[in-house]
Symmetry: C2
């Protein structure tokens, strides 16, 4: 390990450490600090003085180290110090948690420099240098890792510090803070021990705040702290030797990289675990040296509204941790203008300079030591969705950034937030239970337990939330009437979830802790009973079920957001289409900027209340003729459906998928029928009273399959019962003819699902073509239409070159393709297998949410490349749920698809994500 | 079409027509026959004189045409003639069933040559030339296409023929034969019309056979025939013009290529449909010119035993169709030695010459015209399995062929036949019903309807056949006792089928026409009732259920077969391993020549009667501890299993697959439990009386999955319940340790199933490795073992490069890989989708029987190549059922696998198929 470490590192160092000045200083410095004489001139450089680094060295120096270095370079008032590299942290772990060879020696050398720069000595009783030791990873992980302040204090230096500053109380206070923090972080002694001691000291001495403790009281407290350390560490003394303190603190910061909080944070934020943290050792400056001292944090703009004002807070006569820990309530930064006007003006100038320098909002930490301003840190400021949009647009106006940069400054997930009603984050809510976040947005309404009642109450002007154990097609009219849906069973692909997402309504699904009692018309959750008519709230973005009514933030499609999206449209290559089954979906999608319908599922139409009996009669038909008769009854419905959606999308393409699911999905549940028939038999009811059920049971049994996902569905249905899809194609083309006559431009694209072989597509298309030709010949009209297929089976992707002979377009059905590629039935696996897998990091993420690159992505790549070899103008898109996921959209950009298609509500998100993907791949081509 | 046809064809012609003499004659001949003056010198050559062809031109001239040409070249006495190419047939179809341009003109030119060679004129009243018009495809399709004899006869030429031969009766007889055959084949008039007329003529004239009909009677008959033609073709006359006859007959032969019989035959024999047939026009010679004339067919060796004697039959004073149609009973060829000794000796010489020339058994047709022998046809003789083996071995002894050729002369399917008891093909049987041929071989036994009774009767020395609606693990002891199994429900992957195949016992499964009445202990089929104790027969090779006892042919592993197999072993590169779960399988496999166990499924062991309750208790355990307790009880069973199988395979590798199926497969059926509980509830039984059932129902419901194939199984089980497979690995390694101590060499290979990602394998292997290390450390012994995985998911194949980092071997689970690649659940799709697909030619074959090259094969190719890039010594095999299928074995050879693994009974088949595959790929490397 060390061997490869030393051979690899210098290259990396040279590559990132751009300024030649730095490179030049390396050998000299390394040579001087070689106290043990064993290191060669080519040894790894583990330690950089602040003036040796710059902003580009984030990988090596971490965000904080690179930031401080950059500020130092910029001539800002930064306390001097040095950074131990992230590479040293990784080497520390590789090395069995020992410092890599040479690191400590380099740190000592840097410390000497620091002593010279500060004009103080580390451990010097007369003129002591104190330092902070802070973590600093490449990506900011606020509060997740450890920091030690005031390091270097001991009984000796304490005296020196008191003497030099003439303020014994300050020195004692610093010392007790140091012991407290060091003991907690480095020695691992629980912090409450010390807090209790402070509280009891305050009580004893009648002090209202820490600042009121007298030197004597502090000295007592310090002794108490020492006792605590002794007790908690089996008799060991608190370390007095400053170098020992430094060594232990550096190790503790390295350790904190793999602390539980840090690991959880990285998992949540998808930050790799192998980056390591840097350690920054910096001269302490003191905000607690009286009322002309202080410390604070500030943003260059308001991170919650985006307004262009200095935003932040500060505390006088305090150190940084008082602000962070919220021990004392800080004042708004504006107050500083009165209290310390000169410093405030200097700070304002520096803030502006930093924003111009970094071309983004800065989040700064500063300390004022006896009226002198020190900048401790600056980094890109996190911001809310609203702020992100406003700041991006403002900065373009200010000519600070380009439009492309503005687009990149807004995260797609932030756009999603802006499009849904949210619970005011400031509100206090009583959470009754948690289910799956199945469809985003929040809603308040009166609980209602069946669809008819929901419809009734909604007609009477009430807002209702429909509560069911599970939903089925009979509940759809209730869902239409409701503000949102809550179910106690079923996953994110359950009927409730899918339908609610399609409607853009909030849905919490599978909330197993919510006990729904349909007979009593009430549910019990979190120890409370909610009866029909009582108001409650669901949050489909988080899965929370909440008591009563809560304050909401309504979505607002601000002009700024529209501006950002319109800029995004200029930069994206991928088109964004929408999945939608109904004209209302199409209208919505179009309003959100969809450029086509990528998936219109015809079977949802079959599920509608008035049609389902016809569909069932059609399925149970004894003869082709009988089936045709029922299909003739369905034809006008389907024609009207297609008329509506094609009209709504006038001028744009509409991909209509022919019937896909296994037929038994349209029939009553096997289990219910079995129970009913068995019960009737056991009760000795007259057979004729349940003859229909018996017949239906037999039919459903005959259609039932072991693995319906892999059974009689998709184009297989069409090959065995051509009349069903012939009817559908007739309905599509008749609607298209009618619209053309009405002067509406239509572009229907007929999609044949679940194709695995060229021959399936050829046959199916063959006879459907006859239907098309017939309708068009009868009408004497030409229509621009296409035939294509879903690529949703591995075999289709692997033989795409052949399939493209017959397909004019491909649409990746990545839900099914993920199922077959992984051998995961989504319904079975998502809860039982995939979630545990993601938790245990067996999978990096849920492949049904973010496209799997190695498997599914590889199949897609094969299909795109080989399909286009056969047919260069092949139109390729994606209509699986991945089409709305930003990470997956980035993969689609790499795969060079023509479009992504997602639910209407995701269209703005996808527009932005597509722009990000394009800019990441190709940069801003306008520049 | 014609344009591309003419540009493509000459190239093909030049490439195949090797002898330069032929090429030279083309332009001259084409020029001379250009009666319409429109053809260029580069026009397609559609017609070849026999002397222009040779044996290599089968593609173009068909088997018969090439054969006759070759015989002509060899100077054998062949009647002159010409061949119209297969390419002309294809052009005929492309051309909307019209002759391609120039074909007819070339045929006329060839006919002129033929007239000169014969010294006769076509349609010449004084000296008429008569011809036969025969089909002749590349591959022999005996009796499947049409032939017209005596063409050229009409009222005029009839007179000439009679005059020239001085035999009016012969001429009339030929004429009536011609009318009869031409009418049936070319005009499509049903043959029975003519047969009835002959019968009535014989009755009228008191003739015992056709030959006794007088000229007058024949003349009357001819008139009757003409009347029949007139009646059946709406007043049209039988065509008198010979050229019109010829033209129509050629068209009819082309037509017959796509006749139903021919298409069915090609489907059955997997002959491509686009080859086309050639048409051979040849001078007629007459076997019916008196008792020194005759006709016959003969093989150079006995095609049923392989004995080296001329074998065949002939008829004097008869034409060929009499022999083929079986109208008169022919005499054995040996009789000719007495009747026509000179001709016989000449024929013997020619037969020997032909066999030496073609280096294989020849199937010859000949005619003797007034003592002069004409050879009409020769082709490779079809032979039985026994004969194929004997002939191959004899010909090596005779130094006629090499060992490699001998190996290639025996078909793997023939070996399979030789390994199972067959019903004597000569026996007349009463078929009661047909089911699926689920496990090959035939058996007779007494019907028995439950496992206990089967065991009891078998102990009493009775042979029984177990009859059930379906079988389940409780029936296994009955199946062990029985000669075979018959079920009325379930497919080829049903429990009965899988278990029977594993045991090598015949099984007919899913015989839906067999009504099994378990209560009455009888079954009804084909209108008959078979009661318990009654004898009946099943044929698992054909799916037949047969009444009573029938004569059988027992399998015989002859010395010759062993010789052929040992030669096969010299030529094959692929190893042959066997799938086997029990020591008895391993012993059998080894006897059949298996070089390892490629798949030992541990879950079958779980299904055994005494273990199932423990397995169920383990599954239903409330805690890991409880589960471990049950697993501790299973451990000794599993250890004993592995001890047995590793011992039986001493010195050879044994791949043991850890538990794979979803756990609910080990529990009672959900449906049965639901019915029982519902019934008990409805009948108001005391709840405590069925509390256990209720509990079990809840458990089974919780474990139930929508698509169990894609659910919680394989390595997913092991990642969530590590203790199960830890127990299995402990059992394997403890057995291995014990055997090593006993001095037995063991090579266990631990196979982790259903891996889709590297991480799954890494984790699973990680903790199993600890178990292995523990066992080996405790024992202080070293064992040669491997960890590997099944490649049975597309994602595993696509990421094989990664997976090979952890896997020391891959085994393709092509059953599952086919399921996921195609999205076919085998249980659901094989009957409902795949069979109709194969019938309708949407699929070329059942991908569960023969590997799909384009999809599954491509994934395998990716996995092999990329897996070996990571790990060059990766061991790769196949353990899906394809491992025993010769076509699939050929693909495995191309994919460069290390071994194929199949059921023990298929091992000899696979050894031969592997040799065929090697020889086809690499030739005989010894030569």
């Amino acid at each position: 390990m060390p061997a490869s470490g030393t051979s690899r590192s210098p290259r990396r160092t040279r590559a990132t450490a751009k300024p030649p000045a730095v490179a030049k200083t390396v050998p000299a410095r390394a040579g001087r600090s070689a106290t043990n004489g064993a290191r060669s001139r080519r040894a790894t450089k583990w330690v950089y003085l602040f003036e040796e680094g710059n902003a580009q060295m984030r990988d090596l120096l971490g965000g904080k180290g690179a930031g401080v270095a950059e500020m130092t370079r910029a001539g800002l008032p930064v306390p001097p110090g040095f950074t131990i590299t992230t590479q040293a942290c990784n080497a520390f772990y590789e090395n069995g948690k020992r410092f890599p060879e040479g690191m400590w020696e380099q740190a000592l050398a840097a410390l000497s420099t620091l002593e010279r720069q500060a004009g103080k000595g580390f451990g010097d009783a007369r003129n002591p240098l104190l330092v902070s030791v802070r973590s600093g990873a490449k990506f900011s992980m606020p509060g997740m890792m450890d920091t030690v302040l005031n390091l270097g204090l001991n009984e000796t230096t304490l005296q020196g510090l008191a003497r030099l500053t003439g303020d014994e109380r300050f020195a004692l206070d610093s010392y007790r803070r140091f012991i407290q923090l060091f003991s907690k972080i480095v020695l691992g002694i629980p912090g409450e021990n010390f807090e209790h001691a402070i509280d009891s000291a305050k009580r004893t001495h009648g002090a209202g705040s820490d600042a009121e403790l007298t030197p004597a009281a502090l000295r007592e407290l310090i002794e108490t702290f020492r006792d605590i350390v002794r007790q908690q560490s089996r008799g060991q003394e608190f370390p007095e030797e400053p170098l020992e303190q430094l060594r232990a603190a550096i190790g503790a910061v390295f350790d904190s990289w793999n602390g539980k909080r840090a690991v959880d944070y990285r998992n949540y934020n998808k930050i790799p675990h192998d980056l390591g943290t840097a350690v920054n050792v910096q001269m302490m400056v003191f905000g607690n040296m009286g009322w002309d001292s202080g410390t604070g944090v500030a943003f260059t703009r308001d991170p919650s509204t985006g307004e262009k004002v200095l935003y932040g807070e500060y505390l006088t006569n305090a150190q940084g941790e008082d602000v962070v820990a919220g021990i004392r309530t800080p004042k708004p930064i504006a107050a500083m203008e009165q209290e310390l006007p000169g410093v405030y003006r200097q700070f304002e100038r520096i803030a502006k300079r930093l924003e111009r320098h970094y071309r983004d909002v800065q989040d700064m930490e500063f300390t004022i030591e006896r009226g002198k301003l020190f900048m401790l840190q600056t980094r890109t400021g996190k911001r809310t969705a609203e702020a992100a949009v406003k700041i991006a647009v403002d900065m373009v106006r200010e000519r600070l950034i380009t439009r492309a940069e503005a687009v990149q400054r807004v995260e797609p997930a932030q756009v999603d937030q802006l499009l849904h009603t949210r619970i005011d984050p400031a509100a206090r809510v009583e959470v009754l239970g948690i289910g799956l976040a199945a469809s985003p947005g929040a809603a308040t309404g009166k609980a209602v337990f069946d669809a008819d009642r929901a419809e009734e109450m909604a007609k009477a002007g009430e807002k209702v939330i429909m509560v069911r154990i599970e939903t089925n097609p009979d509940d759809v009219h209730g869902m239409i009437a409701a503000q949102g849906v809550l179910t106690s069973r079923g996953g994110r692909t359950s009927h409730a979830a899918v339908v609610a997402r399609g409607m853009g309504k909030p849905c919490v699904a599978g909330a197993e802790s919510v006990l729904v009692d349909l007979e009593q018309r009430q549910f019990t959750a979190g120890g409370r009973v909610v009866r029909e008519g009582e108001e409650f709230t669901i949050d489909g973005s988080t899965g929370r079920v909440i008591s009563g009514r809560v304050p909401m933030i309504e979505p607002e499609l601000s002009g700024d957001l529209e501006k950002v999206l319109s800029w995004a449209d200029q930069f994206r290559r991928l088109q964004v289409w929408a999945n939608g089954d109904y004209p209302r979906d199409a209208e919505l999608a179009r309003r959100f900027g969809a450029q086509g319908i990528g998936l219109c599922r015809t079977e949802h139409m079959f599920m509608e209340q008035e049609r389902l009996p016809i569909v069932q009669a059609m399925i149970l038909a004894r003869s082709t003729e009988e089936r045709r008769r029922e299909l003739d009854r369905l034809l006008p419905f389907q024609r009207a459906d297609f008329h509506g959606i094609l009209k709504a999308m006038a001028g744009l393409p509409v991909v209509i998928r022919l019937i896909d699911p296994p037929l038994h999905e349209f029939l009553p549940s096997f289990e219910d029928l079995l129970v009913e028939v068995t019960r009737a038999e056991a009760q000795g009811l007259p057979p004729e009273s349940y003859a229909d059920k018996r017949t239906m049971l037999a039919e459903v049994r005959a259609l039932r399959e072991q693995n319906p996902m892999l059974g009689l569905r998709g184009c297989r249905l069409g090959l065995l019962f051509p009349e069903i899809i012939e009817m559908q194609v007739r309905a599509i083309m008749e609607a298209a003819v009618q619209l053309t006559r009405e002067g509406v431009e239509v572009h229907p694209e007929i999609m044949i699902p679940l194709v695995g072989t060229l021959e399936e597509l050829r046959r199916t298309k063959g006879y459907l073509q006859r239907t098309v030709d017939q309708v068009l010949a009868e009408a004497g009209i030409r229509i621009d239409y296409k035939f294509g297929t879903m690529i949703e089976l591995p075999r289709a992707a692997l033989t795409a070159a052949e399939i493209a002979e017959e397909a004019e377009f491909f649409s990746f059905g990545t839900n099914d393709l993920t199922q077959t590629t992984f051998g995961f039935s989504r319904d079975d696996a998502e809860g039982k297998i995939i979630m545990p897998y993601v938790e245990q990091k067996i999978l990096p993420s849920n492949p049904f949410e973010t496209l799997d690159r190695g498997g599914v992505g590889r199949l897609m790549n094969i299909a795109v490349i080989e399909g286009r070899q056969t047919r260069p103008d092949l139109e390729v898109g994606i209509c699986g749920e991945h089409g709305g996921d930003p990470d997956s959209i980035a993969i689609c950009e790499k795969l060079n698809l023509n479009y992504v298609s997602c639910s209407p509500y995701r269209v703005p998100v996808a527009r932005l994500a597509a722009a990000h993907a394009s800019l990441a791949m190709h940069g801003d081509r306008d520049r």
